[in-house]
């Protein structure tokens, strides 16, 4: 179960100054960016592909494969997605605050591999401290000649811009992020093209990678594809960051190997549910992921394959734990309400569907629920994602709408009794619950 620390090693061993360029270079930093300058694009793409590195933004797509899609036509751009907004997720914030140069070196490697001379780091607007830390790191790198004209004394030019978002979850979707970066409303673009690598920022080939993904790149190159792929046994390669939150004794970010079980995560690493309460359910991969329950999923392995086979996903690595006192209607309302608030409004099923689901949930919690309400919610959900399958079928441009129905499926599969109890009682059976706290 003990895995080697990769992206969190420096901040763990040098907590006082892991964010400085001096510490970064003293611990081997920027050596791989220098080395990458001597490699061809094909060599770099092949190396990253062979390492098995998967995108850590939530979709778990092969990073090397994504790079290989880069279309002809220049300039090309690199964009780092630091718009971390999935409820439960706070790993990229730690990587940016505690080890920004690691992300910068990964960004430089990405730019070299994709022949880009301008990289943008899109940080969500609420992350002022991470943005300041990243900007300070960028300034340090410029001062050292690691960014700008002729980086590391080569003839390769790379400019880097830190861009601040302004509060919109949807900008984490890569085509919405690109629109936002262009100064537009953050609405996802129609597909195809499926990848901005074909047509992206300013209609040019663009690679969009997540903070944690690029933070792994210096290590992929240092260890070599084989070394990185061999870090942990099994098909999932490398370590990954889990953000643990909710009703758990030791919340926080943990760098873990794929393949430990949920039981180990929640009870050993997380210290279990506080105050002697029982575990009721948990969300395995961010608010978009269908829920897991102790009676069925505790001993599953945390791998992409096992999680997908059980009808959910590891997603952004956010695990949210709920104890027995949690009202499932209230928790569901909070998540569906999030998606209703963050829907960009382009597609009717998402814009209308999430809003109606939220209203029905609210009336159930407020004691106005009707016996047909669960069936009604499933019908509305079916309108957003036909068939209520996993992975969800899409009626919309992006997956936001279909994500919103994940907790509704939990109500159907595990907590229909609780829906019924609310309707029969004419209110919430959980004493502590004070619903209508947040309206609008």
């Amino acid at each position: 179960m003990k895995a080697p620390l990769v992206v969190t090693r420096r901040m763990t061993e040098h907590p006082d100054d892991s964010h400085t360029i001096d510490r970064y270079e003293a611990t081997g930093g920027y050596a791989q960016a220098k080395r990458a300058l001597g490699l061809t694009r094909q060599q770099l793409v092949d190396e990253v592909k062979a390492s098995g590195l998967l995108g850590r933004g939530g979709a778990a797509f092969s990073t090397g494969l994504k790079w290989s899609f880069l279309a002809e036509g220049r300039p090309s751009y690199v964009v780092i997605n630091a718009d971390e907004s999935e409820p439960g997720t706070f790993k990229d914030r730690q990587l940016m605050e505690r080890d920004p140069h690691q992300m910068l070196e990964g960004t430089i490697i990405t730019a070299i591999a994709n022949e880009a001379h301008h990289a943008f780091i899109y940080v969500r607007g609420e992350y002022t401290k991470p943005a300041r830390r990243v900007q300070a790191a960028v300034d340090e790198a410029y001062a050292k000649g690691y960014l700008g004209e002729g980086i590391f004394g080569s003839d390769f030019e790379l400019e880097m811009t830190v861009h601040l978002g302004a509060g919109a979850y949807i900008c984490g979707e890569e085509t919405a992020l690109i629109n936002s970066l262009e100064g537009l409303r953050g609405e996802p673009r129609l597909k195809p093209p499926y990848f901005p690598a074909a047509i992206g920022l300013y209609m040019k080939p663009t690679i969009v990678n997540n903070v944690e993904t690029v933070s792994n790149l210096p290590h992929v190159l240092a260890m070599g594809a084989g070394g990185y792929a061999g870090l942990v046994p099994g098909d999932d390669t490398g370590t990954f960051l889990i953000s643990l939150s909710g009703h758990v004794a030791r919340p926080g970010n943990y760098e873990l190997p794929h393949g430990i079980t949920w039981r180990q995560l929640i009870f050993e690493i997380g210290g279990g549910v506080p105050d002697g309460k029982n575990l009721k359910a948990w969300i395995p991969g961010g608010a978009s992921a269908p829920w897991f329950v102790p009676s069925r999923h505790l001993d599953l392995e945390m791998t992409k394959e096992a999680t997908n086979a059980a009808g959910s996903m590891l997603g952004s690595g956010a695990v949210i734990v709920m104890d027995e006192t949690t009202c499932m209607i209230r928790a569901t309302e909070r998540i569906v309400g999030f998606f209703a608030h963050e829907s960009c409004g382009q597609c009717t099923p998402c814009r209308e569907g999430t809003t109606w689901l939220e209203q029905v949930l609210r009336r159930i919690e407020d004691g106005q629920g009707r016996p047909v309400d669960l069936a009604l919610m499933l019908d509305v959900s079916d309108g957003i994602s036909v068939g209520l399958d996993w992975p969800p079928k899409m009626t919309t441009i992006c997956p936001l709408g279909p994500s919103a129905i994940s907790p509704i499926l939990a109500l159907r599969d595990y907590f229909s009794d609780e829906v019924r109890a609310h309707v029969e009682l004419g209110g919430c059976p959980f004493a502590a619950s004070e619903m209508s706290a947040i309206d609008g």
Binding site: G125, R132, N253
Partner: protein
Amino acid sequence: MPLLYLAMTQDGYLTDEGMEEVARWCGITPAQVFAVASFYTMYKREPVGRFLISCCTSISCMLLGSDEVLHAIEDASGVPHGETDPEGLVSVEHAECIGACGGAPAVQVNYELIEGVTPEKARELVDWLRAARPEVLKGDEMQQLFGSRRSFDWAIREDEGAVGPYPAFGPLGTVGREGES
């Protein structure tokens, strides 16, 4: 987008004149600027108080009592969420996930983060803002005074902070340091 922040820095919020000026600079219509401004929650198109208190009420914070924290802030300030006090000092809002789930419940004041906030500490925070009226709001200082458990440890002190209800980020010219204005 940086220009919209710049306009907010100047006027405290996005005025019609500010958006028109941005439109002139960009060579687009004011309606196009308004379309962008209205998409994002951090662009405020109505006057905001000097201190914008954003209480996260998303799932992880909710599980650990964020609604009680929000009620405490509303009660102590007399300002319901979504509104500003008559003096123009304090605005209160509830926010969607601000990425501090390991230190839930979390609150931001002018986007400077405080984690592990209890209803009692939230009341003290409001009283402190009213009494001290700091020129520069620093996350570290507020965390020490009003916070407890954080998402992760952070040993390094920052002496930068926010000077208004918009993000304190260098390129926007809004980063405050003690003794500067």
